[in-house]
């Protein structure tokens, strides 16, 4: 009798305690987003996705992101095929103002230095026994860019995509918690009070040429970064060219919002306890935390090194913004700076290593992908 199935088919019947744990984590994400304003545009979709993804589906029924033919699987396809991340970069490009970078080019180095977090984590993951491709995908969590992490995982380690994406976004949301202790540990109060001098004015023409040249430099050096950086700089060109304002507007509103909704929700829904709660996931979360800390340290210490040679000293806090996590880590730098000197406004200056960090992580991802990918 098929109405017997009603009970068998109910989700309650199949619900395991691990699912309940994941649902609680999803609710926690939403709670943090709502009350603490931690990356709400990502944590709310991911959190609700986790709730949805941990309802036990009826076996055989096309419901979950992993079930062939289900609606959620079609939405998740944009994650698995790596399509959403470049589209998000398009929107970010159309939002980003590179003039801070253009007016203070030496700060780009801080964005490079922070990538030490990626490569040390790569070594750490290898040490722990992860395969090369998996280690590479995990290490990119240290790049602190969600889309880059998802893109590289989808290409190198699709099986670990769920935990890597969740780790990346969680730690990005927790940047205001993770970074300040490291910053206080590695800097003196005098260093934190260093004032940056007001940078020069950047002309419109420089802003228009920049995305084209910067793209050429990065893509010729590391073609693997072409997909992400092509879209990032394309979006920026749409913004800066002044003649395609309506396209830039759509890219940074309707388009990025739609993709953010679909990406966040389906990444969340991919965290079924049955496949998500594994020892690997735990290790990935550990490595991710380490990666964030190392990246922050790398940026700050490199800034202190640079100060040994520079006449106009750099506030070493800016190094922490090199991990990107745009714009959160720049905001954290600003807040920590204000604590030491309430009239020292670092936000603008911190945007320079911040966007440089995005470029740096994308290059690192391109390098890892092209060297380790299975072509």
């Amino acid at each position: 009798m098929e109405y017997n199935n009603f009970l068998h088919n109910s989700g309650l019947y199949h619900l395991e305690w691990t699912n309940m744990v994941m649902i609680m984590v999803g609710v926690l994400f939403i709670y943090l987003a709502v009350t603490k304003d931690y990356e709400p545009l990502l944590l709310v979709p991911i959190g609700f996705g986790m709730v949805v993804g941990n309802i036990p589906p009826i076996p055989g029924m096309p419901l979950s992101v992993y079930a062939e033919g289900s609606v959620f699987s079609y939405i998740y396809m944009g994650v698995m095929k790596g399509i959403y991340p470049p589209l998000i970069f398009l929107g970010i490009g159309a939002m980003t103002d590179f003039s801070t970078l253009l007016s203070n080019p030496k700060l780009t180095l801080l964005g490079a230095a922070a990538q030490i977090g990626v490569f040390l984590t790569f070594l750490g993951a290898l040490f722990l026994g992860f395969a090369k491709t998996d280690a590479a995908a995990i290490s990119i969590i240290g790049g602190a860019d969600g889309p880059t992490a998802i893109f590289l995982s989808s290409m190198l380690a699709p099986d670990l995509l769920g935990p890597i994406a969740i780790a990346a976004y969680s730690y990005m949301a927790l940047v205001p918690v993770i970074q300040p202790p490291v910053m206080y540990l590695l800097t003196t109060k005098a260093e934190r009070r260093i004032r940056m001098k007001a940078p020069r004015q950047v002309s419109k023409r420089e802003k228009i040429i920049f995305p084209i040249v910067a793209f050429l430099i990065c893509a010729l050096l590391a073609p693997g970064s072409m997909t992400l950086l092509g879209m990032l700089f394309f979006g920026n060109l749409l913004k800066e060219s002044m003649v395609t304002e309506r396209l830039a507007n759509t890219a940074r509103n309707g388009l990025i919002d739609t993709v953010t909704i679909l990406l966040g929700f389906s990444v969340g829904a991919s965290t079924q306890a049955q496949t998500f709660l594994t020892p690997q996931s735990l290790l990935i979360f550990g490595l991710g935390a380490a990666a964030f800390v190392i990246a922050t340290m790398g940026g700050i210490l490199f800034a202190k090194c640079m100060n040994l040679f520079l006449k106009d000293k750099i506030n070493p806090l800016l190094g922490a913004a090199g991990v990107s996590a745009v714009p959160d880590s720049a905001r954290v730098v600003h807040m920590v700076g204000l604590k030491s000197d309430p009239t020292n406004f670092l936000l603008m200056h911190a945007m320079a290593p911040n966007v440089a960090g995005v470029i740096g992580s994308a290059i690192a991802a391109g390098v890892l992908w092209s060297a380790l990918g299975n072509f």
């Binding site: 490079a112 990538q115 490569f119 070594l123 040490f127 419109k204 990065c218 002044m242």
Partner: protein
């Protein structure tokens, strides 16, 4: 992946030295951003060079008056037309390029000034 074997041996396997690989990787990241930095430093100088040259060439650059008049009439006509037919495509009206009035740095400076004045007169500081 069922069981992970930890150990430094994982870092160096035949044909793949992870340490050197990572160094090369960091090197590439740095070289990318260093070249970008160098480009940023040299671009304004290059642009100035060009500008000086082109300024010499196009000295008598006062635009022809009758042309301007037609331009204005055309602009009005087009504006009226476009507004009625393509209300959202206004950027197509851009006959001349825009200035660069609202640089974030102007904002930054203004903010700085404001903050310092404010903090000097702040009762917490004075008291």
């Amino acid at each position: 992946m069922d069981f992970l074997q930890t150990g430094l041996a994982n870092l160096i396997e035949p044909g793949f030295n992870a340490l050197i690989f990572s160094l090369f990787g960091m090197g590439l990241v740095f070289s990318g951003l260093v070249v970008i930095g160098l480009y940023i430093i040299f671009l304004p100088k290059l642009l100035n060079l060009f500008q000086k040259r082109s300024r010499k060439k196009t000295e008598p650059a006062t635009p022809a008056t009758p042309d301007t008049k037609h331009e204005i009439l055309l602009a009005i006509a087009t504006a009226l037309h476009l507004q009625s037919n393509f209300p959202d495509e206004n950027e197509r009206l851009t006959w001349k390029s825009h200035g660069d009035l609202e640089s974030p740095w102007l904002v930054s400076k203004r903010m700085h000034a404001l903050a310092q004045r404010k903090s000097q007169s702040s009762p917490w500081r004075q008291g």
